[in-house]
Amino acid sequence: MVKEKRMIGRLPIAALGLGLAAALVAAPAWAQVKIGAVLSASGPASFLGDPEKKTLEIYVADINAKGGINGQKLQLVVYDDGGDANAARTFATRLVEEDKVVAMVGGTTTGTTMAMIPVFEDAQIPFISLAGAIEIIQPVRKWVFKTPHTDRMACEKIFADLKRRNLTTVALISGTDAFGHSMRDQCIAVAPQAGIKIATVENYGPGDSDMTPQLTKIKATAGVQAVINTGFGQGPAIVTRNYRQLDIAYPFYQSHGVASKQFVDLAGAAANGVRLPAAALLVADKLPDSDAQKSVVIAYKKAYEAAAKQAVSTFGGHAYDGLMILTQAAQRAGSFDKARVRDEIERTTGYVGTGGKVNMSPADHLGLDLSAFRMLEIKNGDWTLVSDSGS
């Protein structure tokens, strides 16, 4: 018995020694640069988070196949927060403390992004968010950037279209999620300068399955000429279906939170005639050749649709822009030093992405202007560009 014990005692030490040797030999291969991504690939924001995840995976593999950045390969660490801000914060802490990422591209929703911001600010790691609300970058936070157009810009774009059509009194129906709520507040704030009057505001929970009571109240409000729905996920699809069910004749606007074919599929025939501000990516084929974004969006569309076997959505496009801005900044910095990468991200100028032309500055961590947004209308289940003259 004692003899066996000694024999057994030597084996683990030998194994440990071999393992250490192997690890030392293999060490250079493990020196990958880790980029973190906490995304909402499941839950109510899944049709935003899932294309984002697929896009990041496709393009990190693509970058690695071309040799990586600064001679190093990238390793993508993805966590799914399911749309829950608490889970997102936990994963953010894990990325910082255990995975030791150099940067983060993620935060599918406003709620999850706002929960994670303090983690990345404390750790001084650049964070490029993929969420919509303006409060992410206003007030400007040193380490936080974002790629999607803000909710304020969406309101301004919709109001401009309404003025063109001589409609000035609107009703809002909003989801109570952070983005829906935030965009509602932005629209209320921006309305007076845009010459728009908001007659009534209704809201619904993101998991609700029937919004006919709220729409009935809107229909009964005198003077309403158009209705705007702010929110994302399946809520807007149900609101749209209910809107047609109730035969409400006024023009109906959605936000860029529904800029995905999934919305059109879920809302069905009810989606026809709905207008929304969205990135040019959705109408890639219909852009005039002179458009600066055309080549970028067509290339992304081809690559995404081939690899993911799904139609493109602007959400995947924002993830693409985030990754490209990050990696181009790292290339300009010549290293993955977090502070230098951050400085270079802030110096991004003239980057043409799926969302528009990006020109960042210390005061502007988004870099897009209103021209980056296009007004689209859904016709026959497909996106069409509304011309600047409003038809």
Binding site: S46, F47, N203, G205, D208, Q214, K217, A220, D247
Partner: protein, 294 residues
């Protein structure tokens, strides 16, 4: 704010629509409770499985009617498995333990669905088209009438089954006194297992009928189970008619609260109902008060 008849009618139809959904879930609760004294919080997952299995079989290429016909017995089998491997295996556990087991089972089924299917939302085409029917200035979807009709048909079929077949008599015997039923030779385990399967099948049918209106996803079961439970409690946990009445009433309360008070508190209505019923009237509207002889 002029409260017009048309508006009230619209809120009423909205309430009927969601109420019919809750009614179908509540019938499943009642059936299992009657057969085994267990409150099955996995009932919502059966509704989810009915819808999701049909959707995914449809994606796999099967014609939707065939997919639906397959989804129902598959879900019924899951219900039977729940009984056989989780409830029956717990033998003489207390009621609270069994309820917690069903909660655990619902989490398990939801997790399995998340992996087996996907995390997105899906829809099914409505049975009779989506042109709304106009009544008195308000509109109702044909599918809402299908769900209501379905709930009534299932109620009638269940009544016929329980009241007019030998099997149904055995279920009544078991719910009256389980030990006595065993003593007269009724195979309680098999019968209760079949009741679980039946409740799961009813849940699956509910899911298939309801998906064209509410959409489906791997996690719709949780809230549905809670609301169905509130409906069953409101109507009287032992009574199938009570389940339908409770469901429709709960739906109406929710819609009227959303319309006249505020939409933000709509979900609170179901929970307020549970609290109110348990405080004031634990046997519900149509249930019989349980008198225990000490």
């Amino acid at each position: 704010m002029g409260i017009t008849m048309a508006e009230f009618l619209q809120f009423f139809f909205s309430g009927l629509t969601v109420g019919a959904i809750y009614a179908l879930v509540a019938i499943g609760f009642t059936l299992i409770y009657n057969a085994s004294d267990v409150i099955n919080f996995a009932q919502g997952e059966f509704v989810m499985l009915g819808g999701m299995i049909t959707v995914f079989l449809g994606y796999a290429g099967l014609p939707l009617p065939l997919a639906a016909v397959i989804a129902v017995p598959v879900t019924a089998a899951v219900g039977f498995a729940l009984y056989r491997f989780a409830i029956a295996a717990a033998r003489e556990a207390t009621a609270v333990t069994l309820i917690i087991i069903t909660i655990g089972a619902s989490i398990f089924i939801r997790g399995a669905a998340e992996i087996a299917f996907d995390k997105r939302f899906h829809s099914l085409p409505p049975l009779f088209g989506s042109n709304p029917i106009r009544v008195g200035g308000a509109t109702i979807l044909p599918q809402s009438l299908v769900v209501l009709g379905g709930a009534l048909i299932i109620l009638v079929l269940l009544w016929v089954f329980i009241d007019r077949t030998l099997f149904g008599k055995a279920v009544i015997a078991i719910s009256a006194n389980r030990t006595a039923a065993r003593l007269v030779g009724i195979d309680t385990r098999m019968i209760v297992g079949v009741c679980f399967a039946l409740a799961a099948g009813i849940g699956a049918v509910a899911g298939i009928l309801v998906t064209p209106i509410t959409l489906t996803s791997y996690n719709v079961g949780t809230l549905l189970a809670l609301k169905g439970f509130a409906a069953a409690m409101l109507g009287g946990i032992g009574s199938a008619t009570g389940a339908v009445v409770g469901g429709v009433l709960l739906g109406l309360f929710e819609a009227l609260a959303a319309g006249y008070i505020s939409a933000s508190y709509k979900d609170a209505v179901a929970f307020l109902v549970i609290v109110a019923v348990l405080f004031a009237m634990p046997q519900g509207l149509l249930g019989t008060a349980k008198i225990e002889r000490v």
